[in-house]
C-alpha cells in the first residue's frame, strides 16, 4: 500500500506548496509511490486518513492550534515545509514589534476584527518529526526527503554552514566582493544559490547548531553595516531563532 500523504498550509505564501507541485511535475515517479489524499490548492478531493503530513506556514493565531494538533494526532510523520513552518519565517518579523501597533498600522480602528498573535514555528505548537528548510524549499531536497520517508528514515539536513556549499560551488565570497552574507551561520543545503546569483545569504534555511552570533555581527560591522542594518539582516528569516537565543519573548 502506498503511504497516504496530505498537505496543509497555515500562514504562508504557498510558495513551498507550489514548489512541491513543480517537483511532482518534474518527478512524476514520486506520484507512483505515494498517494496524495489532500492538497487544497491543487485538488477538490479531501481524505482524512493520511500517514504523512506536510505542513507549510507558521502558526499566527490561537484558532490555528487545534487544527495543527489534529493533524499531529492523525499523522505518523509530520514534516515542516519551508521557513515559515520551520522557523516562523518572515511572519515572525513582527514579533519584535508591539502587536497592537502592528495591528493598528494595517487595520486602523478595525484592528480588533481579525484574530492574530506572534508568529511561531510549528515546533512551538507540536512535535515535528522532520523539516525541509528554505524559503522556498529546495526541489531536490523535497524529492530526496520523500524517498527517505518512504524508507522509514528521517530526512537528514546538513548542520554545517552554507560557506561549505558556497566553496564547493566555487563562488567568490560576497565579503570579498565588498558585500555581506549570513553564510557563516546559516545551514547549508541550497548550493549557496543566493551568493551564486550575486546576493548575500539571508539565512532562510535557519541557523546552524551553535552559531557564533558574536563574530558574524562583528564581520558585518567590519563590512560597513550599521547596528540597524545588522538587526534587519538577522531578522528577515531569523527573528524567532535569534529571539530564542537572546531569551527575549515576543512583544
Amino acid at each position: 500500500m502506498k503511504p497516504k500523504v496530505a498537505f496543509f498550509e497555515f500562514t504562508s505564501c504557498e510558495g513551498c506548496q507550489l514548489t512541491v507541485l513543480d517537483t511532482l511535475q518534474r518527478h512524476p515517479e514520486l506520484l507512483e509511490v505515494i498517494e496524495i489524499v489532500q492538497f487544497r490548492e491543487a485538488m477538490s478531493e479531501r481524505g482524512e486518513d493520511y500517514q504523512i503530513a506536510f505542513i507549510e506556514g507558521s502558526c499566527t493565531r490561537p484558532s490555528d492550534e487545534a487544527k495543527i494538533r489534529e493533524i499531529r494526532e492523525q499523522a505518523q510523520i509530520v514534516v515542516a515545509l519551508g521557513a515559515c513552518a520551520h522557523l516562523g519565517g518572515i511572519n515572525a518579523i513582527r514579533n519584535r514589534m508591539p502587536l497592537e501597533q502592528t495591528r493598528e498600522y494595517v487595520y486602523g480602528d478595525k484592528k480588533d476584527w481579525f484574530e492574530t498573535y506572534p508568529a511561531r514555528p510549528l515546533s512551538a505548537v507540536i512535535e515535528v518529526d522532520a523539516v525541509i528548510p528554505g524559503c522556498p524549499i529546495d526541489r531536490k531536497e523535497f524529492a530526496t526527503a520523500v524517498t527517505h520517508l518512504l524508507q522509514g528514515r528521517k530526512p537528514a539536513i546538513p548542520d554545517y554552514p552554507l560557506c561549505i556549499d558556497c566553496k564547493l560551488t566555487e563562488n567568490v565570497c560576497m565579503f570579498l566582493r565588498g558585500q555581506t552574507c549570513l553564510g557563516p551561520v546559516t545551514r547549508a543545503g541550497c548550493e549557496a544559490i543566493c551568493p551564486a546569483q550575486g546576493q548575500g545569504c539571508e539565512g532562510c534555511r535557519g541557523l546552524i547548531p551553535s552559531p557564533n552570533m558574536h563574530s558574524i555581527k562583528q564581520a558585518l560591522r567590519e563590512h560597513g553595516m550599521t547596528e540597524d542594518q545588522i538587526a534587519a539582516k538577522l531578522s528577515l528569516f531569523l527573528t524567532y531563532q535569534t529571539m530564542q537565543l537572546e531569551g527575549v519573548t515576543p512583544a
Binding site: 500562514t11 492538497f39 490555528d64 522556498p136 528577515l236
Partner: protein, 428 residues
C-alpha cells in the same frame, strides 16, 4: 428552490483560504459573501524600519505565485522614491522575467485550477490517465515558464538577482538562445491551448462592470504606465488611492475597493478589455478564434482572456529575447539612488490584475508602506457577481449552485494569500 443555504468552507483549487456563504430565504437573497478567512499578514508593518534593499525580497513573500510581480512593483516604488533610472537592458530583462511569471501562473490557472471543472473532475490528477496529452502539454508550458524566470532572476518563486536599479546576475546569450528556441517551439502548445479553451462550455452569465488596467502607449503593458478605466478616465500611478478607495469589511481580512461604480474588475479580462488593440497579432487572432471582442462582460471568460495573454506573452518574450541578443548582454552595476529620502509608487499588472506598492523612505530606511493587491480589488466585484448570479440559478440543485459559485470565484483566480490569504462556499 426558494430557500437555500450554501456554506463552502475553504474553496479548493485557489491560492489561500476563503469561504462562500449564501443565504436565501423564501426567494430573497439575505446574504451572499465571499469571506476571506486568511490570517492577516501585516507586510506593511513589517517593512517599516527596514533598509530599502530588503523591500523586494520581503514583499515577494506576499505570494508564491506572483513573487516576481511583487518584487517588480516593489523595486519600481523604491526606484521612484530614490530617483533611480534603470538601464534599457534592465527594463528588457524585467519585462522578459515578468512574462515568465504570467505564463506560469496562467497555465497553472487554466489547466490545473479551471479546466478540471469543465472536464468534470476534481483535480488535474485523473486527467493524467484520461487526457495525458493535455496534462503533458500543461507541464511542458509551465516548465518553460519556470525555466524562463529562473534564467533571468535565479529562481521562480522568490527572485534572487533582481535588485533596486538592476540585476546582480545575468543570463548568458547561450541561455537566451535556448529559451528562444523553446518559446518558438511552444507556439504549437499555445495553439492547442486556444483550441482547448474554444471547446469549453463557459456559463452564459454576464454582468457589466468597470474594468481597470494599466495603460502605456502602444504597449500591452505589464509594468509602469498610467491607470485606465473602461468607464473613462486616466490617472497617474501616484493617484492610485483615488481608484482603490480601500475600506475594511468585517467578513474579510482583505480590504475591499470601489471606484466609479460599486465595484471594479482587474486582471486578464480587464487588461483585454482596455488594451486589446495592443496585443500581438497572433494573440489578437487567438481572441478572435475564442470569439472574444471587447468589451467582454462574462467573468467566466477570464480564463479565455488568460489564454490570449499566454499567446501574447510567448510572442513578446521572443521579441524581447531578439532585442537582448542583438544588444548583447552586458554585466552592469545596478543604477545607484540619487537620494536616500523620498516617496514613490510602483505598479505592475500581475497575473490577477493591477498591483500597487507605495513606499516612504527616509535615510535609506522604509518608514511607510502600502500595498494594494489585485484580489483585494476584485473581491467586491466577485460578491456583486455572486449576488447577480444566485437569483438566476435558484431553480438548480444546491450542488449545482455551489459548483457555479465556486467556478465563478475560481474564474477570478483569486490569490487569497496575497489578499492576505482567502476562499471557502458556505451555504448557512
Amino acid at each position: 428552490m426558494t430557500t437555500l443555504k450554501v456554506d463552502v468552507h475553504h474553496v479548493t483549487r485557489v491560492e489561500g483560504h476563503g469561504n462562500i456563504v449564501v443565504d436565501v430565504q423564501n426567494g430573497v437573497l439575505k446574504q451572499c459573501d465571499l469571506q476571506i478567512v486568511e490570517t492577516p499578514r501585516f507586510f506593511e508593518a513589517m517593512l517599516r524600519g527596514r533598509p530599502y534593499l530588503d523591500a523586494s525580497h520581503l514583499t515577494s513573500r506576499i505570494c508564491g505565485i506572483c513573487a516576481v510581480g511583487h518584487a517588480t512593483a516593489s523595486l519600481r516604488a523604491t526606484e521612484q522614491a530614490l530617483g533611480v533610472t534603470p538601464s534599457p537592458q534592465t527594463t528588457l530583462l524585467r519585462k522578459l522575467n515578468f512574462h515568465g511569471e504570467i505564463l506560469d501562473s496562467h497555465i497553472l490557472h487554466i489547466y490545473m485550477l479551471v479546466a478540471p471543472d469543465y472536464l468534470g473532475v476534481g483535480s488535474v490528477i485523473p486527467l493524467a490517465q484520461s487526457a495525458p496529452d493535455v496534462v503533458l502539454r500543461a507541464l511542458r508550458m509551465k516548465q518553460l515558464a519556470g525555466d524562463l524566470c529562473a534564467a533571468i532572476c535565479g529562481r521562480h518563486t522568490h527572485p534572487i538577482s533582481m535588485t533596486v536599479g538592476g540585476f546582480t546576475h545575468f543570463p548568458s546569450l547561450e541561455t537566451l538562445r535556448e529559451l528562444r528556441a523553446r518559446l518558438v517551439a511552444s507556439r504549437a502548445d499555445c495553439d492547442a491551448t486556444i483550441e482547448l479553451l474554444a471547446g469549453l462550455d463557459f456559463p452564459r452569465f454576464e454582468r457589466d462592470t468597470e474594468y481597470v488596467a494599466l495603460h502605456k502607449g502602444e504597449e500591452y503593458c505589464f509594468i509602469d504606465g498610467v491607470i485606465d478605466s473602461s468607464d473613462g478616465g486616466r490617472w497617474d500611478l501616484e493617484d492610485y488611492r483615488l481608484i482603490t478607495n480601500e475600506t475594511i469589511v468585517p467578513h474579510s481580512s482583505a480590504k475591499h475597493t470601489r471606484h466609479q461604480r460599486d465595484s471594479y474588475m482587474v486582471g486578464a479580462l480587464a487588461r483585454f478589455n482596455i488594451n486589446h488593440d495592443k496585443l500581438h497579432p497572433r494573440a489578437r487572432a487567438a481572441a478572435e478564434a475564442l470569439g472574444l471582442a471587447p468589451k467582454v462582460i462574462n467573468p467566466y471568460l477570464i480564463a479565455a482572456a488568460q489564454a490570449v495573454e499566454v499567446v501574447h506573452c510567448t510572442e513578446d518574450a521572443i521579441l524581447l529575447i531578439d532585442q537582448l541578443l542583438e544588444m548583447g548582454i552586458r554585466h552592469e552595476e545596478p543604477a545607484a539612488p540619487t537620494r536616500l529620502t523620498g516617496e514613490g509608487v510602483g505598479a505592475a499588472e500581475v497575473p490577477r490584475g493591477t498591483l500597487f506598492h507605495h513606499y516612504q523612505i527616509e535615510d535609506g530606511a522604509i518608514v511607510g508602506a502600502n500595498c494594494v493587491i489585485p484580489t483585494g480589488q476584485n473581491l467586491a466585484n466577485i460578491e456583486l457577481d455572486m449576488r447577480a448570479l444566485v437569483p438566476t440559478i435558484l431553480d438548480r440543485s444546491q450542488e449545482d449552485i455551489t459548483l457555479a459559485l465556486e467556478m465563478l470565484v475560481r474564474a477570478y483566480d483569486p490569490c487569497i494569500s496575497c489578499s492576505t490569504h482567502m476562499l471557502n462556499v458556505r451555504f448557512v
